[in-house]
Structure formats: structure tokens, C-alpha cells
């Protein structure tokens, strides 16, 4: 399914949207298409909003952000996010925030995926996080009587997962850092899978332990090579660290950020056009080969 159709059918105004991926496999292609289609009032949730949510916030898609670490990893700030939260001039409409730690967000997805209303964890004693976010509660252990922290389930309307490969039915395999993608997908009412390669079912069946998301929970499969750029796909292309560094300068200046969106997001019809504007990417970022050996599944 083309990305345009997947977003048009499965992402709606007002939805809670999750584009997951911890540094790795962040689906910028889907985020850009959501901006192009002008979605509004979204609750954007993920551990690390990263550049893609900064762009979506700048583009006015977001009403609320649910997160645990909002920065530009190794570089600095997400300035569109900061302007919205600090209510600085040049910021868009105020952004509601709901904040956890990484463990708290992971636990929220785990609860959502298991369809439990909460998840217990040992955390937050002594911190100001429960004061800032009253949804962080405690639960009493029926055996020891002790109070553990609890976070509520997160069940998104739609989760978008980028992966190395899937078959046409959405049986999806990924390797390298897998973050919380499995939990987010199982927690979600709808799932869009975006892949570097669409492969035959036989490829999936030849190594079933690598399957992270089964086709039965997937609503749309989109083939979009380089769809995670400037994030990366292990075995396909490296992270575009130069762009992450450049984002500091772009996002700090609202006018520059607008120009970026006009040129690379709103100003292109789709991902191929986005790539066509950056002809040097493959030469700079294409992955070298470091193949693993296969294993025997016979009996």
C-alpha cells in the first residue's frame, strides 16, 4: 500500500499516534506524510520525540506529547518542542505534555500490549515525577503489602513501525535495536508497518524467531526504502548524524524550520521526491556488509 493511502486510511485527526523506534528505525517517511495530509489534534506518544515529533509539533499536528526524553541525542534541544512548552514567541499553540521516564513509558506499552489496565514497577521514589504527572500511581502488593509504582496502560489508536523487512501480509522482521516496537504494536488498535524490503513469505518462514510483529495485527504494509532517514536501518544505511547536528540550527530558528518543512516535507509529494532532493545519501550512508551466519531450523 502506498504511504499516502496508509496514512489517509489509518491515521485520523485526534488520534493517539505512536511512531516508535529507539534511535533506530524511526519512520520519518510516515511522519512527513502525516504533516502533508495536515492531521490535527494528535496526541503524539513515544519515548524519545526525536526530530520527527519536533517537525510534527512545528507543523501544528500535535495537541499533546507523551514522552520520556525530549532532546536531540548527542546534539542538543528539540527547539520546536521547547518553544511550545516554554511558550516562547515563534512557538505554535501550547502543547500539553504528559511525562514519564523511559521505564515508565516501556511499562505503559507493556500494559497496553497485555491489555492490562496498569503495569507495576519499582520506581519514582524520591523523584518529583509523580507530582508533575498524577497518572503515576502506586499499587499494593497482595503478598508483601508494599507500595510499588504503577503506570497506566497506553493503547494508541495507531502505531507505525519501521522494519527491515516484511511479507505482504505484514509478518515483520527486524534486527539490531528493537526498542519497544513489539509492545507498541500489540497495544495499538491499528498498526502500519513500513519496510525497507517487501519479501516473499518464504523468507519470513525461513527464520521465524526473527519475526517481531505477526501479520494478524497489521493493517497496512508500506514499502518505503530509506523511509527511516535521517534515522537508520541496521544493515541498510547508517544514521545521518550530520543532519541531526544541522537540526540544532534549523529548529532553533522558526523561519528556517518552516523553510525546511516547505522544501523537504510539504514541498515534495512523497518519499521518492524527498530522496531525489538529497542525491548523495546512498554514497554517504549505505551500510557495509557484516553478515551473520544462518542457523539450522531442521529436525
Amino acid at each position: 500500500m502506498p504511504m499516502r493511502e496508509a496514512v489517509s486510511r489509518f491515521v485520523r485527526d485526534g488520534d493517539t499516534v505512536v511512531i516508535e523506534g529507539f534511535t533506530h528505525l524511526i519512520c520519518f517517511a510516515a511522519g512527513h506524510e502525516i504533516i502533508r495530509q495536515g492531521r490535527r489534534d494528535l496526541t503524539l506518544a513515544r519515548l524519545t520525540p526525536d526530530l520527527i515529533y519536533d517537525q510534527m509539533i512545528a507543523a501544528g499536528c500535535a495537541r499533546k506529547l507523551v514522552f520520556s526524553w525530549a532532546g536531540n541525542p548527542g546534539v542538543g534541544s528539540l527547539h520546536a518542542f521547547r518553544r511550545a512548552v516554554e511558550r516562547k514567541t515563534g512557538g505554535t499553540a501550547p502543547l500539553e505534555i504528559e511525562e514519564y521516564s523511559h521505564f515508565g513509558m516501556v511499562a505503559r506499552f507493556a500494559a497496553g500490549a497485555a491489555r492490562l489496565p496498569f503495569w507495576p514497577l519499582r520506581n519514582y521514589a524520591g523523584t518529583d515525577l509523580p507530582r508533575a504527572n498524577p497518572r503515576i500511581q502506586t499499587v499494593t502488593c497482595p503478598y508483601t503489602g508494599e507500595a510499588l509504582a504503577a503506570v497506566p496502560a497506553l493503547n494508541p489508536d495507531v502505531t507505525i513501525v519501521h522494519a527491515q523487512r516484511a511479507d505482504a501480509a505484514g509478518n515483520t522482521q527486524m534486527w539490531g535495536l528493537v526498542g519497544v516496537q513489539k509492545e507498541a504494536a500489540f497495544a495499538s488498535a491499528r498498526v502500519i508497518v513500513v519496510v525497507e524490503e517487501l519479501v516473499e513469505e518464504s523468507v519470513i518462514r525461513s527464520d521465524p524467531n526473527r519475526t517481531v510483529i505477526p501479520g494478524m495485527i497489521v493493517n497496512a504494509v508500506v514499502r518505503e526504502p530509506w523511509g527511516a532517514h535521517p534515522s537508520y536501518a541496521q544493515g541498510y544505511y547508517d544514521r545521518d548524524n550530520d543532519f541531526y547536528v544541522a537540526w540544532e540550527g534549523i529548529s532553533r530558528d522558526p523561519a528556517k524550520l518552516e523553510r525546511y518543512l516547505d522544501e523537504f516535507v510539504r514541498g515534495v509529494p512523497d518519499r521518492s521526491a524527498y530522496l531525489a532532493r538529497q542525491p548523495g545519501l546512498a554514497a554517504r550512508l549505505k551500510a557495509k556488509e557484516a553478515l551473520s551466519a544462518g542457523v539450522n531450523y531442521g529436525f
Binding site: G71, F109, Y124, G126, T127, D128, A132, E146, L177
Partner: protein
């Protein structure tokens, strides 16, 4: 600072590595006295042997050739909450008298003067790692008497001692700065002056700290980095000076 942080790590320990200086320190320790250090990143890479200095904790170089890659639910539940992490490294915009760290907001939470990134994994690292090491440069705004927001709990949080809050880990035992090492007093939990860098006076340290700094009963001297350590840092580990600024 990287060399001092490295010297705090013992061979064979399991370290939860943050990006930047801690990463440099861990790799320096591996290259010198602690070849069997096990590096775990919150991204899910265990036993990483990065062939280049990782730019982020999700760098692909941490995956290629690592011993194990697991999901983040496993990182936090099976490694961290399970008690398998011996050392956690933390930094922060503010560190206070009791080792509480703020990486959330400067100013009030609802209307911050500066919005910082937030906890990430720092809150749970401070709760669970058997001990944590804080790395931060001295200056009075970064070392207030009390942080604006407690993101990661220290030895005493808003009047309550860590032990009473039932946290499994020992919390921040040392703060490694660019001029001195502060250490948590075992009785009061207060960060006190424990050791000075060569040529630094106690007054200089006090000038960078927003509370009256007590002294440990025995004040130590921090050894300067060896030639070999400097060579490794400058030529091998961070030749592009990604983290070795200033």
C-alpha cells in the same frame, strides 16, 4: 574528568553507559585496567564493542559485534530492576547537596524558564544501579543547594533519606567534576569534598558549589591522567573531539 571517571570502574563490572563523557570513560577503562567491563546501553545493546565513538546511545556501532541485543522491556526489567547493573553514570543540568539530579526543568514545572529533555532512563538508573557516579562540571548554577526538580533521586529527597524511601541501589556515591571529587557522606548523605585535582584549592571548588561544602575526614588527591590515558583519549577514543571539549 574522563580519566577520573574511568578510574572509578573496576574490572568485570557491569556498567549502564550514558552517552558522552561516561561512554568515553568506560572505553578508556576497557582499554586500560578493566578489559572485562561489560557495557550496557539503555537502547538494548549488551557487551558492545563500538568500532567508532558512538554519537548516541542508539548508534549502530553499538549493535554490530555486541554480545546481545534485547528489547527495552528487558533492559529495564531484566537487567536494571533485576539488580544486575553495578554502576550507573548520570549527568545533569543541576546537582544538589544530596546528589539529587535535575534534567527536567529550570524554573517551575508548569511554566519552565528552560525545558530540559527529561528523565530518559535516569530516574530508574538512580533508583536501581548498585551505585551511581555523577559527572558534571562545577559552577554554582549547576550545583544549587536544592535542585528545581528531582528527576533522579540522590541520598536525601526533600527531607527524606534514601533508605527510608526503600530504594534498592546505593545512589550517587561520588560526583566527578572538573576540579574535584565530591563524595556522599555515609551518615548525612551530603556531598562533601573528597579529593582535589592537582593545583586546585578547596576555595576554588567551594566557588563552584551553591552550599557550604564540608570536607571528608581524609581529603584525597586526584592523580593526573597518565600519558598513556591522554594518548588513548585524544588519538584513539575521541580523535574528532566529539566529547573532549574544554
Amino acid at each position: 574528568m574522563a580519566a577520573v571517571a574511568a578510574s572509578e570502574l573496576a574490572d568485570g563490572e557491569v556498567v549502564f553507559v550514558g552517552i558522552g563523557l561516561p561512554n568515553l570513560a568506560c572505553n578508556l577503562a576497557r582499554a586500560t585496567h578493566a578489559p572485562n567491563l561489560v557495557l550496557i546501553y539503555e537502547s538494548g545493546a549488551v557487551g558492545a564493542v563500538p568500532e567508532r565513538l558512538p554519537v548516541s546511545i542508539g548508534d549502530p556501532a553499538l549493535v554490530t559485534g555486541s554480545l546481545m541485543v534485547c528489547g527495552m522491556a528487558d533492559v529495564f526489567q531484566l537487567f536494571l530492576q533485576n539488580g544486575r547493573i553495578e554502576v550507573g553514570f548520570l549527568g545533569g543540568a543541576q546537582v544538589d547537596r544530596y546528589g539529587n539530579i535535575n534534567t527536567t526543568v529550570i524554573g517551575p514545572y508548569e511554566r519552565p524558564a528552560v525545558r530540559l529533555p527529561g528523565s530518559g532512563g535516569a530516574a530508574e538508573i538512580a533508583v536501581h544501579a548498585r551505585r551511581t557516579l555523577i559527572v558534571a562540571k562545577l559552577n554554582p548554577r549547576a550545583f544549587p543547594e536544592q535542585v528545581d526538580f528531582i528527576t533522579s533521586p540522590g541520598q536525601r529527597c526533600r527531607g527524606t533519606a534514601r533508605r527510608e524511601l526503600g530504594m534498592p541501589g546505593a545512589g550517587p556515591v561520588k560526583v566527578i567534576t572538573d576540579k574535584a571529587i565530591l563524595a556522599a557522606d555515609e551518615t548525612t548523605g551530603e556531598m562533601v569534598l573528597a579529593a582535589l585535582y592537582p593545583g586546585v584549592s578547596a576555595d576554588e571548588v567551594q566557588a563552584g558549589v551553591g552550599w557550604p561544602l564540608a570536607r571528608a575526614s581524609r581529603l584525597g588527591a586526584v592523580a593526573p591522567p597518565s600519558g598513556e590515558e591522554l594518548r588513548l583519549l585524544r588519538e584513539v577514543l575521541d580523535p574528532k573531539k566529539l566529547y573532549l571539549r574544554g
